[in-house]
């Protein structure tokens, strides 16, 4: 069963002009947000995006953009208290 979070919040964008259809974004996305159709990437379902940023990081053509960060309430609280970006303060574990 696919678990989906809030709708219409992801900051993911795809610039089809720059996309070469190399498929790297489909390789790195942990939620199968992308697929390649007619030699170009398309976003299947933006609501599945967790804004991890793997696609942007691995796009050699600067075609994918997303404001990435940790989707973690504790991280946001911690960041707010310290006046920094949301950050995990984990010492290692299942997660943060």
């Amino acid at each position: 069963m696919k678990q989906v979070y809030l709708k219409n919040v992801s900051t993911l964008t795809l610039d089809s002009e720059k996309c070469t259809g190399c498929g790297m974004c489909t390789n790195v996305c942990p939620h199968n947000v992308f697929s390649i159709q007619d030699n170009t990437a398309v976003i299947n379902d933006k609501d599945l995006c967790m804004e991890c940023g793997a696609c942007e990081k691995n796009c050699a053509f600067d075609a994918v953009h997303v404001k990435s960060g940790v989707g973690c309430a504790a991280g946001i609280i911690y960041g707010t208290l310290r006046g920094t970006e949301p950050t995990c303060n984990c010492s290692g574990g299942g997660c943060c």
């Binding site: 809030l6 309430a73 949301p86």
Partner: protein, 325 residues
Amino acid sequence: MWYYAHMSIMKTSSKLSLIDYIGNFNVRWGINRGSYRVNPGLYSLGTPSEESPVLVTANYKLSFDMLRKSLQGYSVWILVLDTKGINVWCAAGKGTFGTVELLHQIQSTDLNNVVSHRKLVLPQLGAIGIAAHEVKKISGFQVIYGPVKASDIPEFFENNFKVTKGMREVQFTLWDRLVLTPIELVHSIIPMFIISLVLSAIYGFSNLMSILFYLFIAVLAGAVITPALLPFIPSRSFSLKGALVGAILSLFTFLWITPSNILLFISLISMMTVISSFLAMNFTGSSTYTSLSGVKKEMSRAVPMQFGFLVMGVILFIINRFMGV
């Protein structure tokens, strides 16, 4: 043999010892977590040759152990990055499992002269920190993103280093969620005791045990039951899921133990609901599908509500104590 010149190569095996299993259990419960690290560098598993694959991982022992456990019968190289003892996914998010550290380890282990090929297999979730095209440009090594789960590696090998769609997707199964709950529970223990002490200071220390019991139910609701039943609880918002479970569970509790009056009843239910909601909201950090924008949106609605109900609960609690209603 040819690689004897590389004295820095460490040996490991696919067999986990009893001590490894005890360590893995401890780390889930937060015992000695910080010291659970592996030395970064290059390891040989089995009897690898210069043509054997190179797998890259983090120096969090649980990541390292899961990887080598899945490699039974294979001979490979394992390159361990220094992620300060943090797992691949979190470390990649922070950038410690990153392009710079990967390039550094390639160089310091003299990997160029250990293997004849120029391919590295990375865990897919490491992609958040690694720019494959930059690694290729600078070191000549091609990054192949392997499966999300180490247990899929044998199939990935048999499949000629191709990943199937199912191997790409992050799951969040009941078991995935359950193994994360002990640490949530452990983190809640100290705050739970502090709140109980404060509340029983107001209400009289003879009530410490019952207050502890109520708070424990709330913690159980938010940190264990909500995560376990996550996909089955209505609403997309974690804090609402937690509030719902907290409210239901506290109502059930008071079916058995009736509080002395209605004010105390409302006060305890509000506080327990808030605690459960807050802990469930924190589970967004452990989940595998929440986004930063989403959690921000959720919190902008949930935190004021939680604060409101908490204040209401505390005020009713104090009124009940001092007005003798």
